[in-house]
Amino acid sequence: MFDFMDKHPMLMLGLFLAAFLLYFLIKYLFDKHKGKNSEERRRVLEILKAVIPVEESYVPVYAYWTEHYGKSSKSWYYAMGITDEKLYVVPLHIAGKVIGYDKSFVIHKNSLGKVDSGKAGGSVRYVKLYDQNQKEFLKFEVNEVNTKMDKTMPLNIVQVEEFHAFVKKLDEWKSQ
């Protein structure tokens, strides 16, 4: 065994890398499957239901933003619900498997100075919202597929249909 490893170091390195990639591929597929109806997804929907008035018809999404400072990073997590006129934003607090929420706020379409809804197409959107003075006050990332990667990406949530409906509404806001 060790003799074989000594004779073929590059082959061993290749096998090691292949095993590593295979592990992450399997983990990604497993988490993606789980994310379609995960406990976290249900919890986010439950939080939005508790916060947004019942008469509102909204598109729910999970969004986040991470900033890196050297070796450390800081993340903000949100449950969001968008209607034709309003965006409900609920800051989430996540520790392990526990998801809590903080005071929510509502952004009215008319109060915005500018909407940057990111590059069209693809499965990720980087969104920036600006006030009437063109000052950025909220930025977030929305993904079709969110899988647990590390402590900064702690939830398995797959939201393909919601993602497309959400960005469609934001694009409409942008063009108005």
Binding site: H93, A95, I99
Partner: protein
Amino acid sequence: MEIHANKGKIIVVSLIRFIVLAVFLFGIYASGVDDSVFGKVFFCASVTFALLFILSPLRHLNEVFILAPGKIAFKKKEFTFSDPAEIKWARYKTYFIGTRLRCYKGKEKTGWKEVIFSSFYEMDLTYLKNPHEEFINYYMNGK
């Protein structure tokens, strides 16, 4: 609400430290301790340091983190708040020593003096049983 120390974690951390340092010190001993005074002093100092390092987590056994409306308390520190989001949480990876969990109020202090004396500004909750989870459960409708 009171959150107590995670005794299992404290014992496991002490055991891991004991095993790692026992192997290290046995390596030094097996390779032969230098007969000179310096060699003996170095070996004794290493054993003393190892014992302190192994036993140091045990001092956290009686720690209690208190959650009350509008305030949290830990050891002699107390943070009051009107909104629980004022309390910030951070995890620090300290390589082979493990991950530290701490909380603070206001802006994170990152200057070198503040990092060295961080225990004056922050609560180090590393050895408690799920303090962040319990905080969210208690103040932020956690589930």
